[in-house]
Structures are given as C-alpha cells and as structure tokens.
C-alpha cells in the first residue's frame, strides 16, 4: 500500500503542476488580451480600466497563492519530489531555487521590462517628440526607490534561506546520520532511527519551501503594489510568458538530447 500511495502522490503532484501551467497559459492570454484591448480603446473610462486591471492582478495573485497552497499539501507527503521534480525539463530544473523561482528574478524582470525599447523612446524625447512627463511617468523616481528597497530586502531574505538550505543539506553528513546509515547497511531494512532522521530532514525541507513560497508571494505582492495597475498587468503577463517560454525551450532541448517525457 505504501508503494501505491507514493506513486499516486507523484501523479497528483505532477497533475497539480500541469494544471498550474495550464492556468499560467490561460492567464497569460487573458492579460495580453486586456493590454491589447486598452491599446485599441485609448479613450475608455480611465477609472473603470484601472478597476478592471486591478481585478486581473488580484486574480493572478490569488491563483498563485492557490497553487502554492495545494502544492504545500502534496509536499508534506513527499517533499524531495519538489526539489527534484520529474515533470520539469532539465533546463527548468536547473533554474529552480528551493522548489521554485528566485524571488529576486521578479525585480530583474521588472528592470528589463522598464528598459525595453527605452532607447527608442529616449531618442524621441531628445528630438522633442515625447515629453519628459511621458517618459518619466513610465517609472517614477519614487517607484524606482521602492523597487530598489524591495530588491535589497528580497535579496537579504533570499540569502538567509539559501544558507538555511545549506545547513539542512550539510546536516546529512553529521556524525549521527552517518552512524545510522552505516548501521542500516549491515542490518538491511530501515531502522526506526534512520526513518526518524530522514523525517526530520523532510520536515525542514517542507518548512524551507513554505518560507520560500512566502517570500515569492510577498515579493510579487509588493511589486504589484509599487506598480500602477497597468504596469502590474504588463509585468505579470511577461512573467508568465517567460515561465512558459523557459519550459518550452527546456522541453525542446531535452528532446534534442534524447530525453523524452510525456507532453
């Protein structure tokens, strides 16, 4: 029964992830559509537009929180699976940080997006075709200040969790654990002590994912609060696009290397 339980756990975890990818895809489409609609109707009611965009941002964050919650329930049964997920392409797996993306990547993406085509607009500005207000309004000094502060806090917390992970991984080699492992080799079959030690480590790994997830969602939340609704929607749309693209590139290169998996 134990064997069966674990395979169905794995199946459920994989399903959870694939569902999340589907949500990401749908959400990405919805967000880009909303942006397009705004572009096509430049003179629509401003307040109404902001309200709609805010709703989209809320929805995205709720979906992310929902996925994190569901995943956490599954991780409690088989945490290692989430540190080495079989449903990810190798490229995706190589980019993982504590079972997900690095929260600081969000800020890097924000910087990249605000710099996108800035040169063209800067040239227009220098030729007097664009006002300073327009250009500066894309990202105000105040927003830059807030982004910078968020980045520093995020990196600090990220580093704290990274050394926490190092501690948990290093503990594997502690005398007691080594002793247990040596003994269990002679005795065959798992000793209770060994089980307890591994369970303890699993517990710490679960806590790490919990904290990392908390940091991820917190960073995302703060970021969307720094941004105006339109900026936030733009950011979310591109962050989803990036996630999906990395998956696609990863699957392609896996196939090229003769690694085949479902989907």
């Amino acid at each position: 029964m134990a064997e069966k339980g674990s395979t169905s756990d794995q199946a459920a975890s994989e399903r959870c992830f694939l569902e999340w990818m589907k949500i990401q895809e749908d959400s990405q489409k919805e967000l880009f559509q909303a942006l397009k609609a705004i572009e096509n109707r430049p003179n629509s009611n401003h307040e109404e537009t902001e309200r709609q965009l805010t709703q989209l941002v809320d929805k995205s964050i709720e979906q992310f929180q929902d996925y994190i919650d569901r995943r956490m329930q599954l991780a409690k049964n088989d945490v290692s699976l989430f540190f080495a997920p079989v449903w990810c392409s190798t490229r995706e797996a190589s980019l993982l940080w504590i079972a997900g993306c690095r929260p600081s990547v969000f800020i890097r993406l924000a910087y990249s997006l605000t710099g996108y085509e800035l040169e063209t607009r800067m040239a227009e500005f220098l030729q007097g075709m664009k006002s300073m207000e327009e250009l500066a309004g894309e990202l105000t000094p105040q927003q830059m200040e807030q982004l910078d502060s968020l980045q520093m806090r995020t990196i600090k917390e990220e580093e704290r969790l990274t050394s926490e992970l190092a501690r948990v991984q290093e503990e594997m080699a502690d005398q007691t654990v080594v002793g247990i492992a040596m003994r269990s080799m002679k005795e065959e079959g798992g000793s209770e002590e060994l089980e307890r030690a591994l369970e303890k480590q699993d517990g710490e790994m679960v806590r790490l994912i919990q904290q990392a997830d908390k940091l991820r969602i917190r960073t995302l939340n703060e970021l969307t609060e720094i941004f105006r609704p339109l900026q936030a929607v733009l950011f979310l749309a591109f962050s989803k696009k990036l996630h999906l693209s990395i998956r696609e590139w990863g699957q392609r290169s896996d196939r090229r290397h003769g690694r085949f998996r479902n989907s």
């Binding site: 705004i38 572009e39 430049p42 003179n43 401003h46 307040e47 537009t49 902001e50 809320d58 964050i61 929180q65 600081s104 890097r108 910087y111 605000t114 710099g115 996108y116 085509e117 040169e119 607009r121 800067m122 500005f125 220098l126 664009k130 006002s131 300073m132 207000e133 327009e134 250009l135 500066a136 309004g137 894309e138 990202l139 105000t140 000094p141 105040q142 927003q143 830059m144 200040e145 982004l147 910078d148 502060s149 980045q151 520093m152 806090r153 990196i155 600090k156 917390e157 704290r160 908390k214 969602i217 917190r218 939340n221 969307t224 609060e225 105006r228 609704p229 339109l230 900026q231 733009l234």
Partner: protein
C-alpha cells in the same frame, strides 16, 4: 536575518491575498485623491525623512526644513539606503541648490555605492561670505564600508579644513587693506580649495585605513587583518560656490559639466592604463597587469582610491582637483558612479539631463491614453503627493537608461541644476 523580518511590511501569515487586494484598492483610492488635491501640493515625506537624518556634525547650527513658502528650496532626492542628504540653513534667505539624485543597487546583489549631499556645508562664515554646497558619489569595492565611511565623514573634513584655513587667514587679513585685485583673490581661492580637498582626502584615507569592515577603529576587533586591508572606495566630490565649481576626484567615478550643450569632464578617471598613472605606478614599484582590463597588481581596476591598504603607496588617495569658473551657459553638473558611465557616454548623459531640465513647465496632461510603454498617469504621482523636481527626474531617467543598457553594477547619479542653483 531578523532585520529582514522586521523590514518586511507585515508579520508572518498576514499577507493574505485579501489583505493585499485591500491595500491595492486603498493605494488607487489615495492616488485618485492626490490627483484631486494636486492644486495645493504638500511636501513629500521622503524629503522630510531624508532631512531628518541631518547628521551628527557639530557644525550644523540649524536643521534644514522644507517649507512651502516662497523661495521654497526645490530639493528632491530619491532612493535607497546608500544616501544621505544634509541641509543646514543659516538664514531663510540662503539660496538652496536644486538637485536630484538616484542610487540603486541595480543588477548587482550588493550595494556598495553611497552618495552624500550636504547643502550649505559652509555658511556665511567663510571669507567671501559665500554659501557653499557639497555633493559626492562614492563607489565602494571589497565591501560597502569604506564608501559608507566617506558618506559619513568627507563633508565634515571639508568643513573643518576650510574653517581652519579661514581662521588663520582671518588673522592675517584683518591687518591687510581692503579688497585686493580680483585675479589675486581668485588665485588665492583656488589654492585654498586645492589645499582643503587634498587635506580632506588625506584625512579620509587615514580614517579608512584604520577602520575595520566591522566598524571598529584601531585594530581592537578580533577580525582578520585583511578585513581592514581589502576595502576601498572611489570618491568624486563637487563643491559648488556662487562663482566656482571645485571637483576633487580619486578613482573612476566622474563629474561632468554640461555647458551650453557640450559635455565638459571635470574629472579624469584614474585608470591604471592612463599614461601618467601607469608611469606613477611603475615609479612607485607597482605593476599594471591585464586581467579582465588593466588592474594594479592584477587586482584593482583603478589607480587611485580611498582605503585599499594592501595596495597603498601604489594606489594613492591624493585627489586631482579642478577649479572651474561658473558661466551663464552652465546647465548642470552630473556626478555618477561607473555603473552609469560604463554604459553611457558623457555627451549623451548631458544631452538627456539638459533636455530634462530645459523642458517647458509641466503641462498637466489629462489624457487617458494608455499604451504598453508610456503610462500616462504622471499627473497623479507628479503633481500630487510629491512633485519630483526636474533634476530628480533627470537623475532617475539616467539611471533607467543605464539599467536599460544592461549595466550590471550599482548606479548612483546626482544631477545639479546650475541654472536654478
């Protein structure tokens, strides 16, 4: 570790989606209100915070306070931990400089830049009763501690050294008869400033050499000696008087003057492969080795710096000083770390800053156009709670441009509006 938790906006488990949604709603609501009340702007809290940090120096007689009356000093500052603004107002009529700054860690995971602005660093007590403002950018290496020390102390040293010169001269001058020839005064002033800057950098270096990264002075701490030896910082210091701009530089941060549309560098980067610097290094027994660019002993990519004990005697802290007479077509002065200059030529930086400062007065656009890149609600943030000065917008724009050009370093920029200062 615990600091991080404290600085996060709320305690554990409180960031529920519902709460965040609530906060976002409130933010939008507040912005709407700000737009409505934009007719009577209120001073920005950010400014107050900055100015309340007013330093520990005993020279400051009075704390600067931003008011909204006439002659309101348009001081705008933005950004992160690594900066410091000090304002001392000797009397209400003292003219305040107009400047903006931005200092971000950018694509680097560590922040080693620091900036410092001290307005009215010298009040009317100096020999020509001129008000003098101080601006500086410091770009640390091997840790942020030397740059942080510079931010704390350099302007104080400049104050002290200047006061010392004035007090000795005061005694001599009181006997002498009245006003001497203008040229002579200028010459004297130039010599005075060169001396003040040299002495200030010298003292700054002494402090840096005796202070450990942990902050303790004189090697009393248990830290490894290398902790003291490894850190260093660039320093580009600009002093603004009503008639002159004095720039003292050590390292590869840079000051550029925008005059009548052309960029005039007021400092020359101290790179190890600069002919004169290379000769000096070799004469001092050092070597320049090319490892990822020219580096002193293959280590440091600049030939002068504050600190850097292990390379001392080769890497010196003596600044090069320029003394420039201000002219009517001077537009602005830009000080920045190499995070900006590595990706942005001086000419383009000047052009951008100049365009920002020149622009016609803000037209309160009420357009509701939204396109992907240009977000139109500038009037909300801009005219609302805190209207950032043109120079602050210029500093922010330059920073963004550097980020857009994939600068991988910390970026610090100060833009001083010379037309309005």
């Amino acid at each position: 570790m615990t600091e991080v938790h404290c600085s996060m906006p709320s305690g554990d488990d409180e960031d529920t989606p519902a709460k965040c949604r609530e906060r976002r709603r409130r933010r939008i609501e507040m912005r709407r209100l700000a737009t409505v009340s934009s007719a009577n702007p209120s001073p920005s809290t950010a400014h107050h915070q900055k100015e309340n940090q007013t330093g520990t120096s005993g020279f400051e007689k009075k704390r600067g306070q931003k008011t909204d009356g006439d002659g309101n000093p348009e001081i705008s500052s933005s950004s992160s931990s690594g900066e410091d603004v000090k304002t001392v107002r000797a009397s209400p009529s003292v003219p305040q400089p107009v400047f903006g700054m931005m200092s971000v860690s950018g694509r680097s995971r560590e922040m080693e830049d620091a900036v410092c602005v001290s307005t009215c660093v010298l009040g009317s007590e100096n020999f020509r009763r001129q008000v003098v403002h101080f601006f500086a950018v410091y770009d640390g290496h091997g840790g942020p501690h030397v740059a942080a020390l510079c931010r704390e102390k350099m302007h104080v040293f400049v104050q002290e050294e200047f006061s010392r010169v004035i007090s000795t001269r005061g005694e001599n001058e009181s006997g002498g008869g009245g006003s001497s020839a203008g040229e002579e005064v200028k010459f004297e002033e130039e010599a005075t400033w060169r001396r003040v800057m040299r002495r200030s950098f010298e003292r700054m270096d002494e402090v840096a050499l005796s202070t450990c990264a942990c902050g303790s002075v004189g090697g009393q701490c248990g830290c490894h000696p290398m902790e003291v030896a490894l850190g260093g910082s660039t320093a580009v210091v600009a002093v603004l008087t009503p008639d002159h701009i004095i720039v003292a530089n050590c390292g590869d941060s840079r000051a550029v003057l925008c005059r009548g549309g052309t960029a005039i560098p007021l400092s020359i980067d101290h790179k190890p492969d600069r002919n004169d610097e290379l000769a000096r290094i070799e004469a001092a027994g050092g070597r320049v080795i090319f490892v990822n660019g020219a580096r002193v002993e293959g280590i440091l990519a600049m030939s002068r710096a504050i600190g850097d004990k292990y390379l001392k005697s080769v890497v010196i802290s003596e600044p090069e000083v320029t003394f420039t007479k201000r002219e009517s077509e001077d537009e602005c002065l830009i000080l920045a770390s190499d995070g900006l200059w590595d990706v942005l030529p001086s000419e383009l930086a000047c052009e951008v800053a100049r365009e920002c400062l020149q622009g016609v007065a803000a037209t309160t656009t009420t357009t509701t156009t939204i396109d992907l890149n240009a977000v139109p609600q500038i009037e909300e943030e801009a005219a609302g709670t805190s209207y950032p000065s043109r120079s602050a917008l210029a500093a922010a724009l330059l920073t963004r441009l550097a980020l857009g050009r994939k600068s991988t370093d910390n970026i610090s920029v100060i833009v001083i509006d010379l037309k309005r200062s």
